[in-house]
Amino acid sequence: MKMNGAQAVLESLKKEGVDVVFGYPGGAVLTLYDAVYKMKFPHILTRHEQGAVHAADGYARATGKVGVVFATSGPGATNLITGISTASMDSVPLVCITGQVANPYIGKDSFQEADVCGITTPITKHNYLVKKAKELPRVLKEAFFIARTGRPGPVVIDVAKDVFDTEIDFNYPETVSLKGYSGEYEGDEAEIDAVVRAIQKAKKPLVFTGGGVNTSDTAQELRDIVQRLGVPVTTTLLGIGTYPADGEGFLGMAGMHGSYGSNMAIQECDLLLCIGMRFSDRVTGKVAAFAPHAKIVHFELDAAEVNKNVEADLRVLGDLRWSLPLLKDKLSKVPDDFRSRFAPWLEQAVTRAKEKPFGYVEEGEAIKPGALISKIGSLMPRDTIAVTDVGQHQMWAAQFFNVYEPRHFLTSGGQGTMGYGLPAALGAKLGKPDSPVVLFTGDGSIMMNCQEFATIADNDIDVKVVILHNCILGMVAQWQRLFYSHHYSQSELKGKTDFVKLSEAMGVKGYRLTKKEELETVLPKLLAEKGPLLIDVMVPEDEDVLPMVPGGKRLDQMVLGGKD
């Protein structure tokens, strides 16, 4: 079929099952947007390219589908960088299509020219510069394949402006042929047999679940394995939701702001089954003293992650969709009565976790972040998707918001990108219209992409935005209190910004809560309202996120807090 490059892009997206694009028009993509207009392609206009890429990221994390972004050349493309980097670190599948200046202008420092492939190489799984229109179908097919298979990640396609105008005979390839990439990762079954033997020998095994279980949609297999073994479970920040918050043996998140129960269990266990996680410095504490008594087993798809930060005693290299069903099957055939054998250890780990749960101290009329988040959790349905920004509120959300299902806790883990939350929340809601979506953000983070209230209002996207408003950059201030003699250097926000007016100016209703009793009297009504709204909640300035493992310390050297 004859069509121009712009139409070919959209036809390719249709073939890939794309049901929405997030983007922002501009000079180099005018022809592409003309095709969007003519073909009535579903498109969400954000108010900033960074909003578009985070929205696509939220959509992708919530649905498991590839998020798609359009942006123009130069500044349009460079505004995507933070979002691409965020997606790359957290293995989120994106295809970002950017306009490039027309072929004759490439390399001439032309108006709105930037070397997009050069800039995005370190933060993409792969990228392309398309200079010939006939390459478009193959490149799009490859890009979607690369983005969604294996360890997912962002792919950038930079398209010269004249390519969109060039007529081609459109034929979408059925398959891809890449010499160096198959997207299939089936490993060595003997590695799984070795794990089964290790479990049979273990007395205190602990399951440590990570973002890979969310990404590969293998939470059910993980849960079945835990059920068979009867062992405690901890999680990384990105692993939240892979195991239900009220599931047997769940100890909560581990790491720098992880639970006492989880961190102590890691330090005590004799077998640590690490599944789809990458031993970030935020999770290990002092690496040399991480899980000192444990044989470490690493289930991992990406060979470069094995032995990168922590040396594994056993590895199972391969896709979790291959390894976890096999492990489950092999465990079912072993005559061992794991559950009764591990029962004392499970009991011990759970009891210890209950002794020192995440907590907070009530202070008069003040609304404590932990109380607020717990209350919202109790008021919202089990299938609520929680999205966060970055900072103290993010850690409190991870600690206090109970998540029951995979892909229901969306947060920027690896990059820790402030400003991620609002656009990611709207993307998640568009991807999962039947699930309630709540965003926890701070008065710092929300300002980094607050323009997206306009996108939410325009499209009536039902997101409940909860600002934990403490008039300070909370996590920065916490470190300044602890390690910089309480010097609040450039971290005070002074509280002059009226977030209710801000959101209302862009068409989203806003409310403010200042007193504890309003959690009972006002909050339930607000959350029950239909449509988007902002809830600006005043919280104390000097609240610390605890427990906390200071940098370079062992996980069991955490500073405790809360109710103990």
């Binding site: 190489t121 890449l178 010499k179 160096g180 060979a303 470069a304 032995n307 040396e311």
Partner: protein, 175 residues
């Protein structure tokens, strides 16, 4: 290259990397090397017996097997990388080419010619003030050759970095 302080316990390995001959592939490889802070001694690239495949030869300096494994697995993740083989761990022949331009008047030409003959190098250009010599060999031989000109004025040096093939009939692509 080599902008890190060399450590005593650094080991050098020669990796043969087969990549798709596509625009941007060298950016992807060199970008990854700098991003992951790997220490590269030399890098060279050229066409192969298959027109769509480029062979990149890199010499890496690493402190441990674990670091070497990181280099190989991280490079292996690049979509355009087809295959990586560590030729240092196999019987192989490695060669490097050097061109050296040396200041040489009438009085020093004979001495230079002597050194060139001993090393089985070649004089490839000559003028009243200088000579250009060419030598192919292993890195250690080239280093020794350059050392011999310490007493002369070297105007400039161009080295290719090492390239290598395994011994025997099996090509890297079939390993």
């Amino acid at each position: 290259m080599g902008d890190k302080v060399q450590m005593e316990n650094m080991q050098k390995y020669l990796l043969a990397i087969l990549v798709d001959n596509k625009p941007g592939v060298l950016t992807h490889v060199s970008g990854l090397i700098s991003r992951r802070a790997f220490n590269i001694e030399s890098i060279s690239a050229g066409y192969t017996e298959e027109p769509e495949v480029t062979r990149i030869n890199i010499v890496v300096s690493v402190e441990s097997d674990r670091e070497l494994e990181q280099v190989v697995t991280q490079l292996g993740k690049l979509i355009d990388v087809i295959k990586i083989v560590n030729l240092t761990k196999l019987p192989s022949i490695a060669r490097e080419l050097v061109l050296i331009k040396i200041k040489a008047g009438k009085e020093s030409r004979a001495d230079i010619k002597n050194i060139v003959e001993i090393f089985r190098a070649k004089i490839v250009d000559i003028s009243p003030e200088n000579v250009v010599v060419e030598l192919t060999g292993q890195q250690s031989k080239i280093d020794g050759f350059i050392d011999m000109f310490a007493d002369y004025e070297i105007i400039e040096i161009a080295r290719t970095g090492a390239i290598a093939l395994s011994r025997g009939p099996v090509p890297v692509k079939e390993m």
